[in-house]
Each structure stands twice: as structure tokens, then as C-alpha cells.
């Protein structure tokens, strides 16, 4: 490799294009420095600094939206700027901002260290953004592992609690297993593609474009197909699709509530961002294999997620398992997007509505939970609507949107997916999805019932449980945030222009 060539590659390292990621990384470092140099009583301001950093970057990305630099590949093809990448950036920034908000409720109550939490959240956010924009398997794997290792730490963050540590352990073992499988898939792809020389530049099987070209010419190459399936399997673990969902309920239950929200929203969205990129830009010649595999995955995921959620009383497990079923609906969108291009936008629309609704629900859960947030049962919501009508209303809107009840945003998300599936002639999957939605009404409705229709299960005779303390009243910022989420959920049900003009172009 000549020096000139190296210099040419180095010249394509355009750091400015990664401004948002760099800002977050520098912000994360700055948090540590500030913790070191500032007096201890001022440490409680640090969370706000993290939120501010996320907010500033979010505003910056939104302002510059549309001014993307075409479909440009940077860093010698490691990263690719694109419109979906921008959407993913906005999604992850918004989600992390809300995770920071949840953390300001939960962390002080649990007496857990704070600065490190926000530091890790910032780094993970930057890595998530890189992951969604990566165009190269090395970049992909490194960013993915940064996210995953960040999550191992965050899940086991409450080191005083056995449940949190246990959840961390489970996530680590299964996460590492899936990473290993994914890595083996990448290796097989690398091996299958071999050395491709084009115009004096050597390409390898790590580059998405090279793999795509290779698969176009050899769509039935066994090694590459096996590698692609292993990679898809690894990604299916991240989105919690059947049969890779075994970690979901336990990990969701044990993890601190903000982390559960982070996992449920950002981790899942990252999985789908990656899946969409892979399916469209890398493995598209393998449709004959991918469509049946993904369809089967979608159907079993919907059925399993809904049936398993039916029996749950623990709210975090319920959110986890219902999240599995949401992954199933989203998978239908991914399958549909292979024949109906706009379905990819519908997947993102669904993800945004899911973000708004589940963050609202997690916000209420954070307030309802006492210091121990892993044992929250549906029964604990008994007096919520009477004692805290605001939280009750937020919960009702959030859960309603998750259930896909019109006129809330979640319904529009489902509608777009269903229309896409219809246009793609996925009738079988549609039937499964409708059955799933009807089942899901049971448990979502049960939650609303627990919060709004008082005394629905008479207490067992004899054993009078100690009355639970009243859920904490939300702070001013809490009211504003939750109200904004609720309002956005309601408004998006009526008026979708702001999102559709971005996503469905």
C-alpha cells in the first residue's frame, strides 16, 4: 500500500461530518473532568449538563436536517451519510434525552452514582448514531460492541441490588453469545467475498457495497448466505425477536427503569436501523432466503410476545414482552419494505410513536415505583388515577398508544405498517398481526383497568397488605416532559405532517 494512497484515505476522514457524535463524546469526557475539578455539592448539576449537551446536539441535527451531503461515504467508506442516518441520529438523541430525564428521577432514589451513568449514556448514544450510519462491518461491530458493553454496565448499574446484577449477568452472557454469532457471520462474509480489486483499490468483504456486489453476482454462495443469516440472527437478538427473546423479560425487570427504557427504545430502534440497512443495502440479493426467514421470525415473535405478556403482572416484564410483540410488527414492516420502498419510512414512524408512548409509560412507572423499581406490579396502580390523575392520564394515553388504539399515534404507526403489508401482499402476516393486536388489548387494557377502575381485585381475606406509599408527585420538569410526550402522542394521531414529511419522502 503506497503512502499516497494512505494519504488519500486519510483525507477522506472528514471529522466535521461526525460533529454530533464528536460533540457527545467530548461532552462525555467533559463530564468526568467537571466531576474531578468541581466541589462535591455541585455534582447534582452534572445531569443537567448531560441533558443540555444532548439537547444542543439534537437541535443542531434537526436544524441541519436535509442539508445532508448526499449519499456520501466518509472515512474511506466506514461511514455513510444518508437521510435515514439523520433520522436515526434524531431518534437516538431524543431517546437519550428522555432516558436522562428518567435517570434524574430514579438515580437519586436508588442512591447510585450519577456522573458515570450520564457519561456512559452519552458515549452509548454516540455509538448508536455511528452504528446506524456505519457502512463497513468493522465499524459496525466496533460501534455495536460499544453499545452492548455500555448496556452491560447500565443494566447492572444498581450494584447494591441482586436483581440488577443478575440481569446484567444474564444480558452479558446472552449478549456476548449473540455477538460471537454475529462476528462469525461477519467473518464468513469476509472470507466468502475475498479480495476484490477495482481501479487499483482493494476492497474486502467488510465493506457493505462490496458484499452487495458480490452477492449480486453470486446470490447462491453458501458461505455468504450462512454469514448473512448469522448476522441477521445476531441483530435479531438485539431487537428481541423470537427465539432470541429469552433475555428480554428478566433483563427488563432487573435493570434500573431508565435503562429498561433505553433498552426498550434505543436498543430496539438500533436493531431495526441496522436491519433495514443490511436488508436493503447489503443482503438484498438474498431476498429469496431473507423473506421467508424474516416472515417466520415476525409471525412467531408477535404470537410469542403477546401470549407471554398475557400472564405478566410485573409491569417491567409486561413492557418487555409487549415490546417483543412490537418488534414483531416492525419486522412485518421490514419484510414489506423489500417490495414496498416507503415501508422503511413506516417502520421509522412506528419507532417514533413507540418512543413517545413508551417513554411516557416509563415516566409514570418511574414515579409509581418506590426505591425498588423491579418489583412493580399492576396492583400497585390501584389508586393512581384518583391520587395522581395527571399520571393516570399520561399512563392511559401511553398504554393506549402502545395498544394501537385510535386516535393515538400508535394506531397511525400500525395503520401504515398494515397498509404497507397489504401492498406487499403479506396477507398471512396481517392475520397474525391482527390476532396479536386483539390479544394485546387484554393486557394493555388490564393495565388501564388497574389504574382507573378501582378495587378490581378484592384483597385476599386475612392478609391485609400494607398500603403502598403514594406515588411521588412529578416535579415541574417532569410535568412538562410527560405532558409534552402525551400531547405529541395525541397530536400525531390526528396530524402526522411533521413526521411524514421527513420519513416517507
Amino acid at each position: 500500500m503506497s503512502t499516497e494512497l494512505l494519504q488519500a484515505i486519510a483525507a477522506s476522514n472528514e471529522w466535521w461530518a461526525l460533529g454530533p457524535e464528536l460533540t457527545l463524546a467530548c461532552g462525555a469526557l467533559a463530564l468526568l473532568v467537571i466531576e474531578l475539578i468541581s466541589p462535591k455539592e455541585q455534582h447534582r448539576f452534572i445531569p443537567h449538563l448531560a441533558s443540555m449537551a444532548l439537547g444542543v446536539v439534537l437541535v443542531g441535527v434537526v436544524m441541519n436536517f436535509g442539508k445532508t451531503w448526499g449519499e456520501e461515504e466518509l472515512f474511506g467508506g466506514l461511514v455513510r451519510l444518508s437521510v435515514p442516518g439523520q433520522i436515526a441520529r434524531i431518534f437516538f438523541l431524543l431517546s437519550s434525552l428522555l432516558v436522562c430525564f428518567l435517570a434524574t428521577i430514579c438515580l437519586p432514589r436508588a442512591r447510585a452514582p450519577r456522573v458515570e451513568f450520564y457519561h456512559i449514556v452519552l458515549v452509548v448514544t454516540a455509538a448508536l448514531m455511528l452504528l446506524a450510519q456505519s457502512n463497513h462491518f468493522v465499524m459496525f461491530f466496533v460501534a455495536l460492541e460499544t453499545v452492548t458493553i455500555g448496556f452491560y454496565i447500565l443494566v447492572s448499574y444498581y450494584r447494591e441490588r441482586v436483581l440488577s446484577l443478575e440481569a446484567g449477568l444474564k444480558y452479558l452472557v446472552l449478549g456476548a453469545l449473540s455477538s460471537a454469532i454475529l462476528l462469525f457471520g461477519i467473518v464468513l462474509l469476509y472470507g466468502a467475498v475475498g479480495r476484490v480489486e477495482q481501479g487499483g483499490i482493494v476492497h474486502t468483504g467488510f465493506e457493505y457495497g462490496t458484499v452487495l456486489n458480490f452477492l449480486r453476482e453470486n446470490p447462491d454462495n453458501f458461505l455468504a448466505t450462512a454469514g448473512a443469516l448469522l448476522v441477521i440472527g445476531g441483530v435479531a437478538f438485539k431487537i428481541g425477536a423470537f427465539p432470541f427473546q429469552i433475555w428480554v423479560p428478566d433483563v427488563y425487570q432487573g435493570a434500573p427503569t431508565p435503562v429498561t427504557a433505553f433498552l426498550a427504545v434505543s436498543s430496539k430502534a438500533a436493531g431495526f436501523a441496522v436491519l433495514l440497512t443490511l436488508v436493503h443495502r447489503v443482503f438484498s440479493p438474498l431476498q429469496a432466503v431473507l423473506v421467508p426467514v424474516l416472515s417466520l421470525l415476525a409471525a412467531t415473535t408477535i404470537i410469542f410476545g403477546n401470549l407471554a405478556a398475557l400472564k405478566q403482572h410485573n409491569t417491567k416484564r409486561l413492557m418487555g414482552l409487549s415490546g417483543v410483540s412490537h418488534a414483531g410488527y416492525l419486522l412485518i414492516g421490514v419484510v414489506a419494505s423489500l417490495t414496498v420502498p416507503w415501508a422503511a419510512g413506516a417502520v421509522w414512524f412506528y419507532l417514533f410513536t413507540y418512543l413517545l408512548a413508551s417513554m411516557a409509560v416509563f415516566g409514570v412507572m418511574a414515579y409509581v415505583a418506590g426505591p425498588d423499581d423491579s418489583g412493580e406490579e399492576l396492583d400497585h396502580y390501584g389508586r393512581l388515577a384518583r391520587e395522581r390523575p395527571f399520571l393516570g392520564a399520561v399512563l392511559a394515553v401511553g398504554v393506549g398508544s402502545l395498544a394501537g388504539i385510535p386516535p393515538l399515534a400508535g394506531f397511525m404507526g400500525k395503520l401504515l405498517l398494515f397498509v404497507a403489508a397489504f401492498q406487499a401482499h403479506l396477507y398471512g402476516l396481517l392475520v397474525v398481526a391482527v390476532i396479536g393486536v386483539v390479544i394485546s388489548i387484554f393486557y394493555y387494557f388490564g393495565w388501564i383497568r388497574a389504574a382507573w377502575f378501582e378495587s378490581w381485585s378484592p384483597p385476599a381475606p386475612g392478609a391485609v397488605p400494607a398500603p403502598r406509599p403514594l406515588p411521588a408527585g412529578p416535579t415541574f420538569i417532569g410535568v412538562i416532559t410527560l405532558a409534552a410526550l402525551t400531547l405529541a402522542t395525541v397530536l400525531l394521531g390526528f396530524y402526522q405532517q411533521p413526521l411524514t414529511s421527513w420519513l416517507l419522502e
Binding site: 416507503w342 392520564a393 392511559a396 393506549g400 388504539i405 385510535p406 386516535p407 394506531f411 397511525m412 395503520l415 401504515l416 398494515f418 397498509v419 397489504f422 401492498q423 396481517l430 391482527v434 393486536v437 386483539v438 388489548i441 387484554f442 387494557f445 388501564i448 383497568r449 382507573w452 377502575f453 378490581w456 390526528f494 396530524y495 402526522q496 405532517q497 411533521p498 413526521l499 411524514t500 414529511s501 416517507l504
Partner: protein
């Protein structure tokens, strides 16, 4: 002065806007006033629009307006307008909403603000359903009205409210989802790529739909809408739900919201899927005739609970509507529209009066009542009138609806006509027996005790006013059915004629 299209928008926006303002924390004192205004304004607008409606062009939509919500690429836009079929239904929604709202205002329900808020959302949704030209929003507004029903049954309901709310939710959500699938199928299969009913009609007129496609979409719609309208054997949610629902919710749901499915079949399925409807017509007629009218009729006879009885009777009357629909003729369908309006008014009145009776007897059990007429002659008069209307005696709107349906049905199948007329006899038996049990005869022991504790007073104004509104409407349409039948006739002449069935269809 806003034009009529804007008035139509205003009528739908008023209750929803009022609900939003109340949700933001308006004090109770102002909330009730605002709610009263928000129930009144749509009724006034509906009356005005009715007077302005161009009767000779009833098949076209008047007062059209389109608002884009960001899904224009999918052919979804908030398109509002009224045609000859939608107008009477819109009027019905406004009138029943007015009565139910006034009744709720002074009902003294716990957490009254929330109750009014939900009722306002429901009312806004109902008005939206019948004013939507876009079938996506047609569905959307239906759900908007449906959700408050579940909550109202669950929170303010009577006996078994949790079970009833759950059952209601499952049945109605499943039904609604099935019909949504049917609507999406229409959207995709018609090739119009639009949910706009007018464009859908044009696209199908231009291209046509294959018979087999029509059959399965029609089946999907019938199953979905049928569940919503309590077609036998999918009706079991209805008596249970109405038995448990608070009075205003029951009035609005049984009176208006339930007609959504029938209205959908008339406005969408009949003109767009004539072959599909023909395919299912006999099956539908048999289910409705034997199931809804006969089986449910006998079950109604056996009821001892006043509210449950009214619930079952409304299921039974839906049977006539399905029978009229199955005739696939202009006259039959027109009769269904008449019957829908009449039944909506009468069943709402019955639910209102049943609750008023409960206030005085503290029971819904027919065997625990008796002789109430001595203490409350006005209530008795209203109840007897409502019962007669419901049976279909001349002078009330129901008479014309049932008569037209029977005339159409005779051509379709004399046997089923006999069954339907037997149904009228059944409904006369249970209706009059209930009136006799409650108001006449000896006072039961149980009721004597209640009377001793709470001496019953006659209807006061808060009950009388909504009841009067409903009764006046019933009588008005009873003596002047042309007010509805003319626009309906006009509109149907263009869309649901049997002619459409025999025009050659290009297969795609």
C-alpha cells in the same frame, strides 16, 4: 359568517375542543357550562345544515371541505361532507348527543368533569363518523367515540362493570380491526390508492372488482361491522355492556354509535361491493332473521332486568335492519336508514327512562317494581310512549322504518317477512309487559320498603327536557317521515340500486 362547510367542521370541533379545554384543568363550575354549550351548538348547526341541504342533489356530498393531515401521499385526508344518507344520521347524532349531554350534566355522577369530558369526546367522534367522506376518518372517528365508552363502562358502570368493560373492549376492538382490514383491502384492491369514498367509487366504477375479491372483502366487512352492530351470534357483548353502562353512554352507544356498522355497510359496502353483498345476502338474512329476531326475541321475553331487556331488544331491532339491508333494494335500504334514526331516538329514550326508574325504585329488577304510575304519572306516560315507539306503532318514526323494511322484505322472502312480523308481536309482548310491571298493578314488598325510605317524585326538568327532545323528534319523524326519506331516496337511487348489480363489470 362562516359558510356551511366550515359550520360542519365547527360542529365536530366544538365537543372535541371543549373536551380539550376541560382536560387542561378548567374548574368544575365553568366545565359544566362549557359542556352544555358544546352539546347545544352541534345540534343547532345540524338543524341549520338540514334546512340548507339541497334535497334534489342528495346523492352528492354537500358542505364538502378537505383538510390535509400529512398522509396525503396515502390518499388520507380529513374530508368532511354530508349526503342524503349521512344527513339524517348526523342529525340523529346531534339530537341524541344533546339529550345524553343534558342528562349527564345534571346526573350528579362522581368525577363529573371526567365524565363530561369523555362524553364530549364520544359526541365529537359520533358527529365525525357520519360527516366523514374519507373512510379512513370514518373509522378513526368511530374509534374515537368507542374508547370513551369502554372507560365509562369501566369507571361509572353498574353491576359486573369490569367484566362488561373487558368483554365490550375485546369484541368491539376485534370487530373494528376486522372492518379496518376490510377497508384497507378496499383501498389496495380498488387501485384508487385513496381512502376518499368518492374517489374509491370512481375507481371501482372505472375498473370494477372481481367477484371473488368482492366476496372476501364483503365477508370481512360484514363480519367486522356485524360484530359492531351485534349480529347474532356475535351480539353477546351488547346486553351485558348496556346493562352495565352509565345511562348517557348507553344512550349514545346504543342510539348512535352502534349504527356505525350499518351505516358503513350502506355507504361503503353496498355501492362498492354489490356482487359481494349479493353473495352474502341470504346468509346475512338468515342469521338476522332467525338469530337476531327470533332467538334474541325469545331471550328478551325471558329477561327480568329492565336495562338488560332494553339491551336485548336493541339487538333484536338490529335484526330488522340487517333484514332490510339483505333485500339489496332501494326501498329496503331506505327503510333501514329510517329505522336506524327511529331506533336511535327510541332506544336512547328508553335507556334514559330506565335510569330514571332506577332512581325511584333503586332496582332494575322487574319483579321488584309495580304501581309506580300513581306516584309518577309523567314518567309513566313517557315510558309507555317510548315503548309504543319501539314496538312500531303508527305515529312514531319506527312505524315507517319497519313498514318499509317489511314491504321490501316481502319481495325478498315472504317466509322471513312472517318471521319479522312475529318479532313485532314478541316485542309488543315484552314491551307492554314491562310497562305494566313497572307502572301498574300492585306495589311489590321490596318496592314498598324503598318507597318508604325514598318517596318517589315525578320527573323533574333535568330528566324531562332530554326526554322531551327525544320524544318530539320521534313524533316529528313519525308524522313527517318525508324529512328523512326524501334525501335518503335520492341518495340511494344513485348508489345502492339493484341496477348496479346487473351492470356488466370489467374484470381486472
Amino acid at each position: 359568517m362562516p359558510d356551511n362547510a366550515q359550520l360542519l367542521q365547527l360542529a365536530i370541533a366544538t365537543p372535541l375542543g371543549a373536551a380539550l379545554i376541560i382536560a387542561c384543568g378548567l374548574p368544575k363550575r365553568f366545565s359544566t357550562k362549557l359542556a352544555a354549550a358544546a352539546f347545544t351548538l352541534p345540534a343547532l348547526i345540524a338543524l341549520w345544515l338540514w334546512s340548507q341541504f339541497p334535497a334534489e342533489n342528495a346523492h352528492q356530498y354537500a358542505f364538502l371541505s378537505t383538510t390535509y393531515t400529512g398522509l396525503a401521499d396515502f390518499g388520507i385526508s380529513l374530508k368532511l361532507g354530508l349526503n342524503g344518507i349521512a344527513l339524517p344520521m348526523f342529525l340523529l347524532a346531534a339530537i341524541v348527543g344533546l339529550a345524553a349531554g343534558y342528562y349527564a350534566l345534571r346526573s350528579g355522577a362522581e368525577r363529573l368533569k371526567l365524565y363530561l369530558l369523555l362524553l364530549l369526546v364520544m359526541h365529537g367522534g359520533l358527529l365525525g363518523v357520519f360527516a366523514s367522506v374519507d373512510i379512513f376518518f370514518f373509522y378513526f372517528f368511530h374509534e374515537l367515540a368507542l374508547i370513551p365508552t369502554f372507560i365509562m363502562v369501566g369507571v361509572w358502570g353498574g353491576r359486573d362493570r369490569h367484566y362488561a368493560a373487558m368483554k365490550l373492549t375485546i369484541y368491539l376492538t376485534a370487530g373494528a380491526l376486522l372492518s379496518l382490514l376490510g377497508l384497507i383491502a378496499l383501498y389496495v384492491k380498488s387501485g384508487a390508492n385513496s381512502f376518499d369514498l368518492i374517489e374509491l367509487k370512481d375507481a371501482i366504477a372505472a375498473g370494477g372488482l372481481r367477484g371473488s375479491t368482492q366476496n372476501w372483502i364483503g365477508g370481512l366487512l360484514l363480519l367486522g361491522f356485524g360484530t359492531l352492530v351485534s349480529l347474532w351470534p356475535l351480539h353477546t357483548w351488547a346486553p351485558l355492556g348496556y346493562g352495565a353502562a352509565p345511562s348517557s353512554a348507553a344512550m349514545l352507544h346504543a342510539g348512535v354509535l352502534k349504527k356505525f356498522g350499518l351505516y358503513g355497510l350502506i355507504q361503503i359496502a353496498l355501492p362498492l361491493l354489490p356482487l359481494g353483498m349479493q353473495h352474502w345476502a341470504w346468509k346475512l338474512a338468515l342469521l338476522a332473521g332467525l338469530g337476531n329476531v327470533l332467538v334474541v326475541g325469545f331471550v328478551t321475553l325471558a329477561q327480568r332486568d329492565l336495562k338488560q331487556m332494553i339491551g336485548y331488544s336493541s339487538v333484536m331491532h338490529m335484526g330488522y335492519c340487517f333484514l332490510g339491508l339483505a333485500c339489496l333494494s332501494t326501498i329496503g335500504t331506505g327503510g333501514v336508514v329510517l329505522l336506524m334514526v327511529a331506533h336511535g331516538l327510541s332506544v336512547a329514550l328508553l335507556f334514559l327512562l330506565a335510569t330514571s326508574i332506577h332512581h325511584r325504585t333503586h332496582s332494575f329488577d322487574l319483579s321488584e317494581m309495580g304501581g309506580l304510575a300513581q306516584k309518577t304519572p309523567v314518567l309513566a306516560a313517557f315510558f309507555v310512549a317510548a315503548t309504543m315507539a319501539s314496538i312500531g306503532l303508527p305515529g312514531f318514526a319506527n312505524f315507517w322504518g319497519e313498514l318499509t323494511v317489511f314491504v321490501a322484505l316481502w319481495k325478498f322472502s315472504p317466509g322471513l317477512t312472517a318471521v319479522a312480523i312475529a318479532g313485532v308481536v314478541i316485542s309488543a309482548i315484552y314491551g307492554l309487559r314491562a310497562a305494566a310491571r313497572v307502572f301498574f298493578g300492585p306495589v311489590s314488598e321490596q318496592h314498598q320498603r324503598v318507597q318508604a325510605q325514598h318517596p318517589p317524585a315525578d320527573l323533574d326538568w333535568r330528566e324531562k327536557l332530554p326526554a322531551l327532545i327525544l320524544l318530539a323528534a320521534l313524533l316529528f319523524f313519525g308524522f313527517y317521515p318525508k324529512a328523512i326519506s326524501q334525501p335518503v331516496d335520492q341518495a340511494l337511487g344513485y348508489s345502492a340500486t339493484p341496477k348496479a348489480l346487473f351492470t356488466p363489470l370489467k374484470t381486472r
